[in-house]
Symmetry: D2
Subunit: 368 residues, 4 copies
C-alpha cells in the first residue's frame, strides 16, 4: 500500500508539493450526516499558518480551503470529501542554488535514493507544507468527533532546554493554550521560551521542542490488539509528522525508571463507572483506551535549515557550503500543535469507526 | 482491517491465547527461494524463553516451533508460512481468584470493554506469550534479510535508573550482548543492574527499562512518505510490544533540547558513496533510510504483576486486594531484546519488498 | 498485500499445501460473543468432502477441524480464530511422473513462472484442497450471520449442456438441494446430469457446469461504492475459486440482450417497506443491496485432469504425453456448492461489519 | 477500507459528484520516472466523452484534465498524482421532479438506505460521470505499462441480440475499433447494431451489450493466489463499472458446457518459450498469467433511464409515474470501451508492481 494514505476506516490520502499549484487530500469513510462547518476547518488551518509569531517562517499563504466533493445540503454525504489548498506564495528561485548539494538534515538525499529524483522547489513533497492537508483533514475528523464530545488539547511543553514545570504538565484548555503566542499554557515558561527564541534568531540557529497532547472523552474500548493497538496507531501518526523524533504515552520513557508499585494506576469506582486515581498509563491499557484522558508527548528536532553556512558536499562528493535561502521556522513546535491534534483526531476517528463496526454503542459502553 | 496483522508486503498474522492449545502465525508474502533454517528460528525462540535469568518468569515452555506450510525442498515456496508453538506449561488455576477484579496495570478491564468478555487464563490473548509468535516470524524475516546482509543488534541500555554510560550507547555485537545474562553489553553496568534486580525481588517489586536497537546495512531508500515513513512503521511495530511506553530514533527526545547547528549530521564522501559524520538523525531522513545504521530506543514500563498485595476494586466497584499468583518477570527488557529485533526485522522486510516493487535493485542503489 | 487474505473486516487468511501436514486458516475480525457450534462447521466441511458421489475424487480425508484459538467458554472471544485441517490421505508418488511436464489446464507452469518453483505434490498450494479452509471459514461466517437470519442457498443449475429449466431457476431450500446426489434441486434434470456424468466417466472425460446462489435476508445498504460494490466483492470472491470462469448477478449476460423497459425492476410497497416485483437486478442496485434476494451464477470449467492421455511438452520443450494419475473429480460443481456459499458468507460478513461501522443498526434499516 | 480506492500498489482513489464542481482522483504508487504525456491522457478522456455518436447522452463536457501534483520536469516523481476534471455542463433542475421517487433501475433507493441521504443531482456520486476519473487514471496506468509494451484492445462484441460472428471474436487493433462509430470492429455487425439503436431511439427504449477485451504482452507470473488471482482482480474491477452485470474470462460461461478434452489448451514450444495452441483459458492458469493474451468479456445491462414513462412508487409508498428528464445514453457499451480498458490497465499496473516486489525482472521472466 503506497504511503500517502492513513487510516483503515476514516482514511486520508494527501497529495501536492510545496511549489506545485496546490496541495490537498481526500477523506474516504467519513460517515454521512455530519454537520458541515467550513469556518471551523478554516480556523484550524489558520492555526497552522506561518507568519503568526516570532518562531515561524515569513512565507505568507492564505491557506484557503476549497471543498470539491462529499458535502450535500450542509452535511457530509458519506462520499469522499476532496479538498484543495492552493499554493500562492511560491519563490522557487530561492532553492536553485542548493539543487546539487546534500543539504544537512534534509530529505533531498534519501528521496533521490528512493525515487531517483527530487523536486528541490521548497522541498517538494517532503516539505512541511503538506501538513496543511493534514490539518484540514484533522478538522474534518474533529467535526465528526464533536458528535461524541471527543476533543483534543495539545500544547508546547518544552522548547530547547526550557520545560514546563512538572506541576503544569496537566490538562490545559485549548483557549488558554491558543492565548499564548507560543502555545505554551504557562506564562512564566512561555516568556523564557520567547527569550530563547530571540537568542536563537540572533545566533542564526534553531531549536527543538516537545508537544504534549490530551484526548478527552474517548470511550473505553478503542484500539485493535495485538498490532493495531491505540498507542501503535498514535505513534505511527505522530512519527509521520515532519521533524518528529520521539513518541511516548503516559509516563513514557520515565516509566523505564519506575517500579511497578509506583506505575500501576489504582482503579476507583465513580458514578457507577471505573476510573483511575493516577494516570501513569496515559489512558491506554493493553492497547485499548480506558475512558480516561489519553496523554502523549511528541519530540521534535530543531529545524534543519539554519541561518548559518554549513559544511556539506555535493552529490558528486565535492566539498561545499550550504547556506539556506528560503523562509524557515526557528522551531516547529508552536505550529505543530494543530498538526499533532489533527493526526490524533484522524487516529481516533478511525478507531471509533472500527469500534462501531464491532457493534459497540455509545449509550452502554462505559460500564462492564 | 482487524488488528492481528502487521506489514503490507511481508505480512504477519498471529493467533492464540496464553492458555489455549497453541499460539502461532502465518507469514504471507515471504519471497520464494529463501534457504530455510529451522535451527536458526528455534534459536531465536530460545532467546525469548522465560526462565533463563533472574529477571524472568519461571514458566517453562519448550517453545518448539512446528512449521505447517510454505516450505518445499529446503526453501521457502512463496506460499504462506504457517507455524505453531504449542502451549504446554499452563496453570490456569493460578488465575481463577482474580477473574472478578480490575487488576492494576492489566488489560482485563479494557479488553472487557471492547469485546464484552476477557479470557482470564494467563491474560489470554493479551498475555506477552503472544510475542513468541512475533519472534518466530521475525526470525523468518531475518532469514530473508540475511540474503542482503541486513542485521540487527539490540541490547538493554537501562533498567530502572541504571543506565549505560553515554560512551557505551553505541553498536555492540550480538555475541557480546547475548554473553551477558541481562543482555547489557557493558559488564560494569550489567552488574549494577543485577544488584537492582536482586533488590526488586527482595522488595517484591518490578522495574522498567530501555532497549536500544541498531539495524545495519539497510540500503538507502527504505520508507514510504508521507505517512508510512520508516520511523512511523518502526514506531508502530515497537509500540505494539506489550509494556512498551515510548519510541525514539536518533537523538529522539534529546533532539528537543538541541540546536539545529548541533543536530544536523554533516555528510561525507567515502568509497564513492554518501555517509554521515555523526548519527543524530538515526539513519533516517525525511522518512527514508540513509544507508547508515538505523538507531532507535524503546522504553518499557515495569511489569504490572508485582509480588505485593495491591489495592483495587472489583468490576462491581467493591474494594478489593489483588495479589497476583501466576509466574511473572521482574523486568521485561532482557526478554524484549529478541522481540524488538523481530519487530524491526518484520518492518525492514516489509519495506525492502516495497522498495523492490518500485524497481530498485541492490547493485546500484548506494550511489545517486 | 499478499494474496492469501480476503476481507477487510472479517478477514480470512489461509495456508497449507495439498500434501503438507495440514491446511488451515485464521479469521481475524469475527465479533465476540457468537455462539460457537463446531458440529455445524464440521457438517459444512463434510458437504465439501470428496468421495460422496459419482462425480468426485476417491481421495478420502476425514477433514476433521481442529480449533486452535479464539473461542472462550462456548463463544467467540473477538480474537483470531485459527483452525487446522490435517492432511492424512496423501499419495505423493502419484505426482512424480509429471514433474517435468507442462500439464494442460494446470497451474504448474504459471506458478513456476511467478515463484521460480512449484510443489508438484497434489498441486501443492494450487490444489483445490485449499478450499476446505474456505469452507470452514465460511461456516464461521455463517454462524455470525445466523444472528441476523442471513442465509445461503446454492445449487447446481447446469452440468455440461444439461441445464435446469428456466422455471426452476428460482430459490430452493438447502434441504431440497442437499437431498439430491448432485445438489441439483430438480429431480428430472438431476437424472439427466447423472447420465451425462456416467457417459463422461466412460469416455474418461470431464465436464463443466454452473452454480446458482441465493443470499436471503441481507439488509439493504450492503456494498461500498464506487469500487468495493457488493457485486465487485462477490465477483472477486467467486473468481478466486479454482476452476471458476465466469460470474454474473441478476440477469447477468442475458441483460446484454434485454431492453431497459424489460430489465428495470418495478418497486412495490409491502408491509411498509420497498420491495421489487421482479428480480432482474439480482438484489443489488448501484453496488448496494436492495434487501431482496441477492442472486448470482458462477461458471466452472471442466476438470483439467482427464483420464485420457494428452499431448503436451516438457519444460524444456520436448514433446510428451501426459496421463494424470492421482484422484480427480469428473465435475467440480457439486462439491463447489458449499465453497460458493462459504465465499458468499465471507463477503456478506465483511460487508455487514462495514455497514455497522457506519452506525447502521438492524432495527431501523428496512425503511427510508 | 472505504470503497473509493482500488489497487494495492498502484492505487487509485476517486472523488466527486456528477453535479459538484469537479470530479477527480489521486494515484498513489505510480513509479517515478515515467515520461508524462498529458495529450495521451486527454485523448483517452475524449474517447469516453458523451455526444460522439447516436448512442450517447447529449451532455457536453470538455472533460479537460487538470494535473495538480506528482509531475516534475516532464516525468512522474513517484509522488501522488492528483487530477481534477471540472464539471461544467450541469443541469440540476432536470432532476428535481424525481427526488421523492424510487427510480426503477437506479441507485437512489439503495444509497439512501446506506447513507441516509442521496444527492439526486445527476445521480450524485452514483452517476457514471465518475468513470471519467477512472479513464484518466487508466491512461496514467497505460503510460506506465507502455514502458513494458503492455497494451489493451477492447471492443463492442454485442448490442442487444446483435452479436459479432464467432470468427470475429478475436484480437482487433485499437485503430480498427475506434474507426467504427460504435467501436465494433466488424462493419457488417456494426451496421446491424446501428439499426437496432435507431429502433431503440424510436421506441424510447435502451439496450444492453457486451464488451470484449484483450490485454497483450503481460509477462507470465501476474496474479497473487489464492484470493487475489488475476481473474479475481479483473472481475472486481470490471464489476465496479456502472451497469456491468457479468464477467467471464477465456471461454467463460461457455466452459460450463465443454469437456475437459476440449477445454485444455495444449502447450507448444516457440522461440524458446512456452505458448499455447488454443486460448480457452483466456491467458490465465491457476490465477496467474501465462504470457499469452488475456481475454475477457463484460456484460452491461440496458440503460435504466428510458424515454418512456414507468410505473413506480414514491419513498412513502404512493403509486407514481417516473419519466426521466436529464440526458442519457441509449447503450453504454461504446462509451464503456475506454472504461473497461482503463480498469484493466489499473489492475495490470497493480499486479505488475507486485510482481516486481517479488524480485522478478522483465529480462528473464519468459522462460522457466
Amino acid at each position: 500500500m503506497p504511503g500517502n494514505s492513513i487510516g483503515n476506516f476514516f482514511r486520508l490520502t494527501t497529495f501536492g508539493e510545496s511549489h506545485g499549484s496546490a496541495i490537498g487530500g481526500i477523506i474516504d469513510g467519513c460517515p454521512a450526516g455530519i454537520v458541515w462547518d467550513e469556518k471551523f476547518i478554516q480556523s484550524e488551518l489558520n492555526r497552522r499558518k506561518p507568519g503568526t509569531n516570532q518562531a515561524s517562517s515569513p512565507r505568507q499563504e492564505p491557506d484557503q480551503i476549497e471543498i470539491i466533493s462529499g458535502i450535500f445540503e450542509g452535511k457530509t454525504s458519506g462520499q469522499p470529501i476532496a479538498f484543495l489548498i492552493r499554493n500562492l506564495d511560491q519563490k522557487s528561485e530561492d532553492y536553485k542554488q542548493s539543487e546539487h548539494l546534500v543539504r544537512p538534515g534534509h530529505a533531498d538525499y534519501t528521496w533521490k535514493q528512493r525515487y531517483g529524483l527530487f523536486d528541490p522547489r521548497g522541498g517538494g513533497r517532503a516539505s512541511a507544507r503538506e501538513t496543511a492537508a493534514r490539518v484540514a483533514a484533522g478538522a474534518i475528523a474533529k467535526l465528526y468527533l464533536k458528535k461524541f464530545d471527543v476533543f483534543f488539547s495539545a500544547y508546547v511543553s518544552a522548547i530547547g532546554p526550557i520545560e514546563l514545570p512538572e506541576t503544569e504538565k496537566t490538562w490545559h484548555s485549548p483557549q488558554a493554550i491558543d492565548a499564548d503566542p507560543l502555545r505554551c499554557p504557562h506564562r512564566e515558561t512561555s516568556l523564557k521560551m520567547q527569550e530563547l527564541l530571540a537568542k536563537s534568531i540572533s545566533e542564526r540557529d534553531t531549536v527543538g521542542g516537545i508537544v504534549r497532547c490530551y484526548i478527552r472523552n474517548c470511550p473505553p474500548g478503542l484500539g485493535s490488539p495485538v498490532f493495531n493497538k491505540l498507542q501503535s496507531a498514535l505513534a505511527y501518526a505522530m512519527m509521520s509528522i515532519p521533524a518528529a523524533k520521539g513518541f511516548e504515552y503516559g509516563e513514557g520513557f520515565s516509566a523505564a525508571r519506575m517500579k511497578g508499585s509506583e506505575h500501576n494506576d489504582v482503579p476507583e469506582w465513580k458514578n457507577g463507572k471505573i476510573h483511575f486515581l493516577t494516570h501513569h498509563a496515559g489512558g491506554i491499557l493493553g492497547g485499548i483506551s480506558t475512558g480516561d484522558d489519553i496523554i502523549f508527548n511528541v519530540a521534535f528536532k530543531p529545524v534543519s535549515s539554519i541561518g548559518q553556512p554549513q559544511t556539506t558536499i555535493s552529490y558528486k562528493g565535492e566539498p561545499a557550503i550550504w547556506q539556506p535561502g528560503g523562509r524557515h521556522d526557528i522551531t516547529v513546535v508552536t505550529r505543530a500543535i494543530p498538526i499533532v491534534e489533527a493526526m490524533a483526531a484522524l487516529v481516533i476517528a478511525d478507531q471509533l469507526i472500527e469500534w462501531f463496526s464491532l457493534g459497540n454503542q455509545f449509550s452502554n459502553n462505559h460500564s462492564v
